[in-house]
Subunit: 290 residues, 4 copies
């Protein structure tokens, strides 16, 4: 397929999608928007879904793609736009990009013989998103902690993408950083980076020293027996996606209130998040062009 026509339609989404539309426009795309009550700077605004989709080879949906009741995630629009409706309107030569799309929509599109691509599966995007996630966590810590991050004792649980960027950023700001992990190769990297390595199975033994505990592991690892070791004046933050790594029932019993920090990139740096989405979608478009 040749995407010679630099024409796209942005369908719904939050502030990121607004920035995304503006960025494509600045990059001399012909941009139509639908799913926003307000006009997006310099972009055309379609009157209805059909007009929005008609003649656009590329349709770009939001991240996440749908809400729980099957409508497009379009918080800046009062009208409800059913995903079913969108799929029904699609033509064979159109491509619809969306982020974090549930399996059922992929299957419906497949049955309808139209093409949907999930840009959220891109590893590079997830690495990029780790930066605003880490900065958003830092901001949260700054708001809640009565001391500076400089000199604070902080443990990051998990050494995946977000754990790596978060540990790095805390240390760059002068915190004493410990990292909880399990694998010996991770331990070697943790030591190389200058953090104190802690085996996950022994983390509770040092919780008492910690001013801040940030979990990034999406499996429940901080249960009652660990929670009791956390100081009353310590901050406990969970950035792992649902259901997170902290036993919320146990926490309630102990009067500990973990802060849930989800969807940070869209909240704290929507313009950066939009830029990453654009890069990812353009890469995907290049691949489709072959």
């Amino acid at each position: 397929m040749r995407l010679t026509k630099r024409t796209i339609t942005i369908l719904g989404g939050d502030k990121r999608s607004v920035y995304l539309a503006e960025m494509f426009k600045q990059d001399s795309y012909d941009v139509t928007t639908f799913g926003f009550d307000e006009e997006v700077h310099n972009c055309k605004r379609a009157e209805n879904l059909q007009a929005a989709m008609d003649g656009a080879p590329i349709l770009i949906g939001p991240l996440p793609f749908a809400n729980k009741v099957g409508n497009l995630n379009a918080p800046l629009c009062n009208e409800k736009i059913a995903i079913d409706h969108i799929i029904n309107e699609m033509k064979k030569d159109q491509i619809l990009f969306g982020g974090h799309i549930e399996k059922k929509w992929m299957e419906k599109a497949s049955k309808a013989n139209v093409q949907i691509v999930d840009y959220f599966h891109d590893e590079a995007l997830q690495v990029k998103n780790a930066i605003p996630t880490a900065e958003g966590t830092i901001q949260l810590v700054m708001e809640k902690l009565p001391t500076t991050i400089h000199g604070a004792n902080i443990i990051v649980l998990g050494f995946g993408r977000i754990g790596k960027v978060l540990a790095h950023l805390f240390r760059q700001m002068g915190a004493n950083v410990s990292v909880g992990a399990r694998k010996s190769a991770d331990f070697a990297w943790i030591t190389q980076a200058g953090y104190r390595p802690i085996h996950i199975s022994e983390m509770a033994t040092i919780f008492q020293e910690m001013d801040v505990i940030v979990n990034t592991i999406p499996v429940q690892i901080v249960g009652m027996s660990k929670l009791v070791n956390i100081r009353k004046d310590a901050l406990l933050i969970d950035v792992a996606s649902h259901p997170g790594g902290i036993d919320l029932e146990a926490a309630k019993t102990l009067h500990v209130t973990p802060l849930q920090a989800l969807g940070l990139p869209g909240k704290v740096a929507p313009k950066s998040a939009a830029k990453y989405m654009k890069e990812t979608i353009e890469n995907a478009m290049k691949k489709l062009e072959g």
Copy 2:
């Protein structure tokens, strides 16, 4: 003088003074407080000023010391406490510490033949305070900027204590940092640290590139002719103390709204700020003991 009696009285102040009282108490001082409507954890609360001051070799006042109408700076207390009254009650063997004390109070104390010491003049304290000031500025930028600090173009005007710490912190977080200075030795340090050095006289030429401009110079250097070069979507922050370095009249004309960021240590990290105050006062006490 021997301060063998570990007995102190904390007089007024904000959250920092509360933390300060608690810290002295934890350090097994006998602590009395006055000028707080609420009780301070574990500390004695004096019924009136005379009771508070009586028998305490060391009195510790807040930072800043007084408000504009001549009362002790005591925002957590409904009662008004006149500085004149405090000076009148002082005995010859007492020492009153305070921060940022106006000359007139020093003179009154001198006339009354009692001893007041300003702990704010301590260079080490000012260096320490540069850390929460920088973190507080980072927090402000995070709240206002729709992009990550990582990758942002930021210029710091001035390379004194706060400029140094601020440029360092922005760079540690992955920003592209420029520093505006005048002296060739500063330029050499700026280059050593890896920032882009900009002569203050030429700063306006690069304002167009900047996402964030932070002034630390307490002399008006950003006037109309410079302000016109600042992008509409750029953040302009002044952390220099009154009157700051930005021409506010010119800014208003241009619909630019500089953010004033003053007294950050007490706001964003009161517990750290209290710790620094305690270290400074204890050093001063050691020197007085000889």
Copy 3:
């Protein structure tokens, strides 16, 4: 198996094996050495191979294990010690550790029904070794470059273990670091870390700017067409293992002399390298004990 007897024999090796023997001794092991002309501090010295091996549950050979003619790698010993001979002497309840052991020795051991373990396959060891490899490369650059590393333009080709640590170290020292890679996720990490990402296919276009080019990719990627773009005063270093990534014939034609930098951990930091070997062997011992 229970390794309750803390008794080991160190067989041959370079300075690392000497440090290794000393470290096990300090850790209250009973240590016998063989394959060193000089006595190792505080350790027993066996008269012959049989005496060295007799009664020791654990035998520790060098890294690399053998030389080209089938003898133990024992540069500090004049006597030749055949690997065949060692395997023949082994008992069923002994374990021989060695590093980088050729397949044929593993097969011979298997046939003889004795147990050989290659500690070099451990990922954590390889991560640890990346640190002295990077420091050794820095030392080489310092010796050869007439400028400081601070401010130098340096490209690291490849973003595996060594590429990551090397790029980090150069940047920590103030160099302007570019990294050549191919994968989009690597590009995201490279950008996150603050390096300039360069696609391997386009690296030649920026060779002209580079003061130092370090290859870490063990596949020939720097051939004639790329070499012609390298400045005469630039340093070209290959740390990739044989055959390296630089076309040596083409380099000779162009009068460019790439520096080969191999086996750096043993050369520049034998004591650290020994420490890593000890940690790896002890982990392996723990696993064997179950």
Copy 4:
């Protein structure tokens, strides 16, 4: 004075002066050299001193300027060039730059009514030189230490220009850095930068832990009573200029051999050192032009 004629003569010096001549030439100056047996690339070579000096408004001598017997410091030339002779040949409208010029030459020039300027007094030059000094020290440590700098325990004595850059560089490379100082403001900066602050009067108490001790204080502070606490396998390096900070007699008695590291910029990074000299001289020239 107007230095419109971009004509200079380089008189003697080491490799730095050769690079300096080449850099001025590249910068389209008309460059004559004298005091080098070999020809300098692209530059004119004067037959004798008179020819070298004749008609050049700017004469640039080496750093340091003179040797002990009163000749120009010209290690790359067999001929001896007396400073007296140079001063005698000078015209009133010429300026001679030199580095680290003894007072007696300044006085002689003054009497002869000719103008000599010492570029070594420039603070910016000294800051710049701290970088190659620190890198040269790192190189020395790398050559001598059997472990990596990463993870090593290192103390830097003194927190002036070189102490600051050195502590920074060691820490950037992953060492555990302590800094010995006296002033409370220095302590605050040392803590801000993340080093462990040690009062100079107590440094001996932690010498036992140290793998590397680097002195930067040009006053004898490491005497017998401190030297006895240094481990036999520790590295002791003095980068302070003559007489340095270590009691060499006491060291000899204890069989400790401090490494003297002097004049590092010219040795390890002559091209960078030449660049700094050029920047300094050009600044001085601009000021003279007014």
